[in-house]
Subunit: 260 residues, 2 copies
DNA sequence: CAGTGGTCTAGACCACGCG
DNA sequence: GCGTGGTCTAGACCACTGG
């Protein structure tokens, strides 16, 4: 193989498969293996190290779990290349952006030279999950409009989002239609008298569920952000909660914090 | 075993080890297996499903990579119990907190009933990495003071942090001492005339490197947050960059976004 | 077709935790 | 000592990719 890998250390206590993973990780971090490049096949690695196949596979799996490589059946194992990231600024829901008439996602994606997309739009009315009811300050029995959708950039899914709006507010408005019109949900909320004051956004990160990995076509070893954002109208009433799951590969979040 | 698991589906295409992982995942999500509880041993699962050990181990590894279980050598595999989380509010660096005389981390941890700790404090002066120099707006050749440390709650590490302060600002001040005094770095910066205006915070998440996993004693399947926070003084000069890596198990980040 | 990774078996020996 | 998970071997057959 073109790539030169060290031999095994015969004295160390470190298990063989971890040593092999270390060698490959080093090669990736040094740049000897470039993003997109093919890692030596299992057969070649078996030959190089004179070990059984399972030992090689264990080593490769470490790298995969670390998000450094992806395996493609029948083709090989490849160093992962990072997709372009989208930067979310803390003023992304400012009124001045909304007034331009497009949803935040569309504007930002086009601005970055990508093709935005939204699919899997589903709308329903139901009792809210307890966590959401608490965010919205709803009493038992008050229902919510649920809008769920998936966002794509250049036909690749990057984010799923579910919005919850008190049914008392949304019922009969364009918020309950598939196309919410220019400026999206927030523009409609302001039109019907809920002038927005601020948003609270809560950020967690974790490994995806199977469903999330599928919906976002996540490579193994890719965590997700979970954002729960609550929109407050002037006067302090919560008027919407948006629960989103995003590929951490595709996003950098950016916030401004006050010092005073 | 007390837990009842379904049998294998003889018709599906889904590989056996994935089916087994599904059964166990269901049991965890349903609550049939509670946090801290022991998953049936490999031997028992081999008996229940009549499969080879590697098949069981592959199944268990899926759950581990998903962050649902941890294996303890010689004891068994256990459903992970989530540690208490620390919530970081977006006003956590507000001056009113700083003026109480304690560092943000100490105040918050004690307030939540935990025992705060800081260790591995290292201080040096060096040329900044390119990324940091860019954040600080430094010219070639301008050096920085580097303060690195690790934060602990109840003796468990949760976060590593590295601060970079232009050497021109920090040299000869208490910022270059191991103990920065009441209110920490930011209080000292304000005392010497750099009144803080705001912070920019950039949030990413990814799987940890080996070193990070070790320093934070991360369970397999736990991603990390990487925060890079730049402090700006009134007038717009960047006076500090803080690069932190945090266990996503231990933190929820919370931000307020403007709507105007 | 050859080469690749995906799944699975049936063993082996070791290291750790606990009684 | 026994049960646990950790590492490793040496095979097998399958499914996918590409020339």
């Amino acid at each position: 193989m073109a790539l030169t890998l060290p031999g095994l250390d015969p004295v160390t206590d470190r298990p063989v498969f971890k040593q092999i993973a270390d060698h490959l990780r080093d090669a990736i971090e040094r740049g000897s293996l470039q993003p997109g490049e093919k890692v030596p096949s299992e057969a070649k690695l078996m030959g190089h190290y004179s070990v059984a196949r399972m030992t090689i596979r264990n080593a490769l799996q470490i790298l995969q779990a670390e998000g450094l490589t992806v395996a493609e059946h029948g083709r090989g194992v490849f160093v992962r290349s990072r997709p372009p990231v989208r930067r979310l600024a803390s003023d992304r829901f400012a009124r001045r952006h909304r007034e331009q008439g497009k949803a935040a996602f569309i504007v930002e994606t086009e601005g970055a030279g990508g093709k935005p997309g939204v699919d899997s739009i589903q709308i329903s009315e139901a009792d809210p999950p307890a966590e959401i009811a608490a965010c919205l300050g709803l009493r038992e029995g008050e229902r919510v409009l649920i809008r769920s959708r998936r966002y794509l950039i250049n036909d690749h899914p990057v984010e799923t989002a579910v919005s919850y709006i008190p049914a008392a507010i949304a019922r009969g408005t364009r918020i309950a239609e598939p196309d919410t019109g220019p400026g999206g949900i927030y523009a409609r909320l302001e039109e019907i008298g809920h002038r927005l004051d601020h948003f609270d956004e809560e950020v967690k990160a974790r490994m995806p569920t199977r469903e999330e990995a599928k919906a976002l076509r996540l490579a193994p070893g890719t965590p997700v952000f979970r954002l729960v954002r609550t929109a407050y109208a002037e006067g302090g009433t919560a008027v919407e909660v948006c629960d989103t799951v995003m590929s951490t590969d595709a996003y950098v979040l950016s916030y401004q914090l006050p010092a005073r």
